[in-house]
């Protein structure tokens, strides 16, 4: 679905962030990008979303899909209600799809919170609203930049379940940046470990998605995936 070839990006003063990076994403996959701070994880998402322009290389889509972006910070408009925030993609595109907005609010469990302002929501609810805004754009691909990093562990687990449900219901492809190898191992079909602007290696957690969350997290496959990611991260550092 997405092909990234020899992508390079740098800031002025000779700082290289992406160094001839290549990767492929298949439709319906959850792919996590993991690596130390400054390795280029967030930059690659922004280049794919065309928020940044690469110095060299290509980003090629099989069919250009509808994209949505979720940031670490919920980035809600504080002066607007949750409803108005979720309607933002439609408003900017000139047509608000009311059903998509309602479905998105229902999917994240905020149907009865639409009239509230962001300041009246908890941290978890704000992040749900942010995910709902992304879903309201009817995306095929979700780009997520450490979306749950600021949440406590319990909320993070809930959001992880929500994300897997959404992926299943909507057939989303998700490119997910995280600092947590546990989160990456649990959520992903593939985990790409990055270092200094390149993909260092890949781990494919083989969890049994038919079992419940607790069993998956306690399974040998999960432990092996975490160990393999940790080993890959430690390699050469």
């Amino acid at each position: 679905m997405l092909q990234v070839r020899d992508l390079s990006f740098g800031y002025g003063g000779g700082v290289t962030v992406l160094d001839a990076l290549s990767m492929d994403i298949a439709e319906g996959d959850v792919v996590s990008l993991l690596g130390p701070s400054g390795c280029g994880k967030s930059t690659i998402l922004r280049v794919i979303a065309e928020l940044l322009e690469a110095d060299e290389g290509d980003v090629t889509w099989q069919n250009i899909p509808e994209l949505a972006f979720v940031f670490q910070d919920p980035a809600l408009m504080p002066w607007a209600t949750v409803d108005e925030n979720v309607q933002l993609p439609g408003r900017l595109k000139g047509k608000i799809d009311k059903k998509a907005v309602q479905d998105a609010m229902a999917a994240v469990g905020l149907s009865d919170m639409g009239h509230r302002f962001p300041a009246q929501l908890s941290g978890g609810q704000r992040m749900r609203a942010s995910v709902a805004r992304a879903l309201a754009a009817n995306p095929k691909v979700l780009l997520m930049d450490e979306p749950f990093a600021a949440l406590d562990e319990i909320l993070r687990f809930q959001m992880n379940e929500l994300l897997l449900d959404l992926k299943k219901q909507r057939g989303l492809s998700i490119l997910f940046v995280t600092h947590s190898l546990y989160e990456a191992a649990y959520l992903s079909d593939r985990v790409l470990v990055m270092d200094r602007g390149q993909i260092k290696g890949e781990v494919k957690p083989d969890l049994d998605r038919g079992t419940n969350a607790q069993d998956q997290r306690a399974s040998g496959a999960f432990t092996s995936a975490v160990a393999a990611i940790a080993a890959l991260m430690a390699e050469g550092s």
Binding site: R46, A49, E50, L51, L67, A68, F69, F71, D73, A75, M77, P78, W79, A80, L88, P89, R91, L92, K93, R116, F117, P118, A119, Q120, A137
Partner: protein, 251 residues
């Protein structure tokens, strides 16, 4: 309740002490008149004070409106071009730091001695303009970078970007600056009237000068009292507006 009651109680205490002090010490009226004679001076000629207050308020409001329009437009232009901002901003700073009393005679010469009212508005505008420009510029720069990226991702037009992102983000900054600039416009208007004269309508500043020349100190105090009340009304009026407009930000 305390926030209303305490200042009123303090104010009444000061008045009582003031009255007691001047009566007990036989302080001459031309040095410090008792509060009741100031009140009497105010009631003695209500139409005169209404006219004078109206004239000063009119100058203040015109200057403030001009400051809002020019400050907001210039800040918007700054946000579109950093080069333009770097070129023009120092001139705005020069206008701000140069004492208005020193500029006032020059303004009066330029607009003509017959156009004292216009000179007053320009001088008051000079004082009120900078806080609006500075705050609005800061407000426009404080746009959430992620939200800004979202607007880009969803293909927002420049007008949508302004209406839905820049303007609401900068609004609290603008409203905060109005509380400062409202008072400054009044001060500027009074200083201008001191320097440029009263023109066709006589404002409070001119009434104060007039009363001072005649040693009618209670009238001077009456004029000062009206200025203070006007300043308070402007400040709390904008505070109320700020509270109302930004209530959504607070939830």
């Amino acid at each position: 309740m305390k926030r209303v009651f305490l200042p009123i109680a303090a104010f009444i205490s000061v008045l009582v002490f003031w009255d007691y002090y001047v009566t007990l010490n036989d302080v001459p009226k031309f040095v410090l008149p008792p509060p009741l004679s100031i009140w009497a001076a105010l009631l003695e000629n209500v139409p005169l004070w209404i006219d004078a207050s109206g004239a000063t308020l009119w100058v203040t409001l015109q200057a403030l409106l001009a400051a809002i329009v020019s400050g907001v437009l210039l800040a918007l232009t700054f946000s579109l071009s950093r080069t333009f901002e770097a070129t023009v901003y120092p001139f705005a700073v020069v206008l701000q730091v140069t004492p208005v009393v020193a500029i006032a005679p020059l303004v009066l010469i330029w607009v003509g001695i017959d156009n004292a009212e216009r000179a007053q508005v320009i001088i008051a505008w000079l004082v009120a303009f900078f806080p609006i420009l500075a705050n609005m510029s800061a407000g426009l720069k404080s746009v959430d970078a992620n939200l800004s990226d979202l607007f880009k991702l969803y293909g927002a037009t420049p007008l949508q970007r302004f209406r839905l992102l820049l303007w609401p983000t900068a609004q609290p900054y603008l409203l905060a600056s109005l509380k400062v600039s409202g008072g400054l416009a009044l001060i500027g208007g009074v200083v201008a009237e001191f320097v440029a004269g009263s023109g066709t309508s006589t404002g409070l500043a001119w009434r104060i000068i007039e009363a001072g020349n005649r040693l009618q100190i209670e009238k001077m105090f009456a004029g000062l009292l009206l200025l203070a009340v006007m300043g308070m009304l402007i400040f709390y009026g904008f505070t109320l507006l700020e509270w109302y407009v930004t209530r959504r930000h607070r939830g």
